[in-house]
Symmetry: C2
Subunit: 465 residues, 2 copies
């Protein structure tokens, strides 16, 4: 579909311009005042047009446990999460729809789903999420979450030594599943890309990382992992490798300009230099890092070191929403308390660039996505600046990033296709989705995770609590 947005605010150096924007065959064809109207006319008056953001790290099926998880740090929280994980393809489908919808309605046009796989139904899980994202029309980056060590291995041993159950599936079998998934579902031109996504050093062997590197190189896939989310993982890396996790990942060749690393809370200055040197991208998940008490990632240091940083909501069990604007706001202002010198604080305009172009760069698509540039794909979001939450009129981007916008997203296009109009997703029936989410769930009395109870004493001892 071709269209022309007329008389819309766009961001220019230190201010705004009122322009027309032409989109032809999914591509931004022209940006200038007083263009000819090509295709459908969209009235841009009192609206702001921005490139779509990337929800650069989430786990869609965690939506089933949002609002209910205990106040736990990651290691105990994970035990609770897995005790109650939904092992049901219909739920995988519905939570992928929900994640896509909430991402779109908060300014995102792309989602990186670090997708938890149902054991024994790995390809079906991936197929189901892909189907949901294609139905909604969001640009999807599906990163099947893999590991080859059992959960207890993610907690440092401390002074004693711990024996862990072997993982239920051999590493090679896991890699074969991923390769098959790539053959079946990796269709970047159709808006679905697969990523290799070993969950992180806490649950993956070097063989798994090396297999992923090989697949990444052979099929031109991006790489996605958690990295040093908690202090426990910092300890674990020292026990496991005798060096920092970053040094080890560099050593085995995992870090690259198409590697995105979620969290990155516990890095040393030497680690930071390595991320900069390898051109890796940091995905900042501020709300999850607060909720789980993981810590405040040193984002201002990353930016000063020249590292590309973008934002993610993380899964809805550790946040507990998929509102990208909320993650961008908190992920910006949180760091003002880490450096008294306000010259380094992240401004709203910088935050927008991190969330759009920063996300695109991390996915190796900086030349195709992430800015209002002629020739780039039309992944666009139009914000209504007359929403009460954005009034009175001051600075559009300041209001959007630092305020708490309610129903500010009016229209969204992905690859030039409109999938949100008048603030509503047009591709799926939202009432049906609400009904399904309601009927596939129930209000829960206080529940207890047995696994968390089992490992809690050891966790508290190792962490000195």
């Amino acid at each position: 579909m071709n269209f022309t947005i007329q008389n819309v605010f766009i961001s220019v150096e230190d201010g705004y311009a009122n322009c027309d924007v032409q989109v032809i065959n999914g591509t931004i064809a022209a940006i200038a005042p007083h263009l000819d109207i090509v295709g459908t006319l969209i009235n841009g008056k009192n609206k702001l047009l921005l490139p779509g953001f990337v929800n650069a790290h989430t786990h869609s099926s965690e939506m089933w446990q949002r609002g209910i998880m205990s106040a736990f740090p990651l290691e105990l929280w994970l035990a609770e999460l897995y005790d109650f994980a939904p092992l049901d393809l219909e739920k995988v489908y519905l939570s992928a729809l929900g994640t896509a919808v909430e991402t779109l309605l908060s300014g995102g046009t792309s989602v990186v789903d670090h997708l938890v796989l149902i054991p024994g139904k790995e390809l079906e899980t991936i197929a189901t999420a892909v189907r949901a994202y294609q139905e909604v029309g969001i640009r999807a980056f599906v990163a099947p979450l893999i590991q080859d060590e059992s959960l207890s291995a993610s907690i440092p041993s401390g002074e004693g030594s711990q024996i862990h159950e072997p993982y239920f599936r051999p590493t090679t079998a896991t890699l074969e599943i991923i390769e098959e998934a790539v053959r079946l579902f990796h269709r970047p031109d159709e808006g679905v890309s697969l990523l290799v996504a070993p969950t992180g050093i806490q649950l993956c062997s070097d063989d798994l990382f090396l297999g992923c590197i090989e697949l990444s190189d052979r099929y031109n896939l991006c790489r996605h992992s958690h990295l040093l989310e908690t202090k426990a993982q910092e300890k674990l890396a020292l026990e496991k490798y005798g060096c920092s996790a970053v040094e080890h990942l560099k050593h085995i060749g995992y870090l690259s300009d198409r590697t995105t690393l979620a969290h990155c809370v516990w890095l040393t200055d030497a680690d930071i230099a390595i991320l900069a040197e390898t051109k890796s991208t940091v995905v900042h998940n501020p709300l999850s890092n607060l909720r789980l008490g993981s810590g405040i990632a040193p984002i201002l240091k990353y930016r000063q070191a020249g590292i590309n940083v973008t934002f993610g909501c993380d899964g809805a069990s550790s946040n507990d929403s998929q509102d990208l604007l909320e993650a961008i706001k908190i992920g910006s202002i949180l760091h003002n308390v880490t450096d008294f010198d306000y010259q380094y604080w992240i401004t709203p305009r910088q935050a927008v660039e991190m969330a759009s172009l920063g996300g695109a760069k991390g996915l190796n698509l900086g030349d195709q996505l992430g800015s209002l540039t002629v020739g780039k794909k039309a992944d666009l979001v139009l914000y209504d600046l007359t929403s009460l939450s954005l009034l009175p009129r001051t600075d559009p981007i300041g209001l959007l990033v630092l305020g708490r916008p309610v129903h500010a997203v009016e229209s969204v296009w992905v690859d030039g296709r409109q999938i949100v109009a008048d603030g509503k997703v047009t591709t799926i029936n939202i009432e049906d989705l609400k009904q399904s989410l309601f009927h596939h769930s129930q209000w829960q009395p206080k529940r207890k995770s047995q696994t968390a109870e089992q490992i809690e004493a050891h966790y508290r001892k190792v962490m000195g609590l």
Copy 2:
């Protein structure tokens, strides 16, 4: 108006009950299953009823500068704020309406407005805000912001000594204005209370504090101030008093069980003991403290010391919204990174109690407001649990506090009077308000504060930047 909410979720010890709630003459008359229907029947199915929250610290007229303020610490930010302050009663009126509406739609039934007064029109400013709050129907606590020192006095002198302009009005004249305002507008039974509200030690003489204490005692008024919001104020207190600000305020008798203190970021352990001993209330403004880089208030320490803590949005120039649920969420999870021991983390249920009963206690109304208790005033909020943002069903309060609710507030009653129905404020015309906010403002190009420029070099030197 009498009414009965039927079949609604209410929070009980460690869970929920389905109950009916009867309200007669503005008071909660009964809470039990299967009550007789008295007055209007309200269907509570799939809804959660909570006591209204208190937006316990804000400055309504800052709404005119939200989204536009520079990335500055408080001292420079204040200079910018005052350079562009709206000196216009119509604007005071509109921003009080806007503040009330945003507070109501995020679960608040009371607002404490630390109201910036237009010089020379002090009583008119107060009258205008009171009129706005009465029109909306929110319970209003108007705290006219007073000082008797000029702005430059709020920055520490450092090694040199600084001469400050005298304040434009004598202290006694200011106190007379406040006393007249109390006579004219302090009508607790009609939902409007006045507070004495010297802005803080950074801009107030002891004479002003003592005059406020005297008015507070004579007219039974609560006391409200900023306290140790920034590190600069900590330094200033030492220069000014030779002791901490808290020690000084205790010494002059300002601290009491009806004193609410906004921010409280830079307190020592000795200061914390004083707040506990004097039964003072801390108003936590997490978003503002992040935005201005003020720091993370030691809220977990306050709670462990037994200090009453509640939440505020702070003014919309330092946040930049009036979404109380956002302040409660961030004000809860932020502190998980300050203590590894998750046993001390604030749970969603605790956060709800802090926001409701905690707010009421700070206003010396713990016996009348802040909980679903028979005999208390019916300041109630009904949340629709079928909003997409609160699905799937898990734990209602967990979803509300840790999620990002969108249009979850269905109905609000203040003193038993319904002022929000079907998610819309019923007492004023919101479209008219939007139009007025739009037409009284304009998109602003990059602006510069001359005062901030003038004081910046001194500020950087004193703060070691």
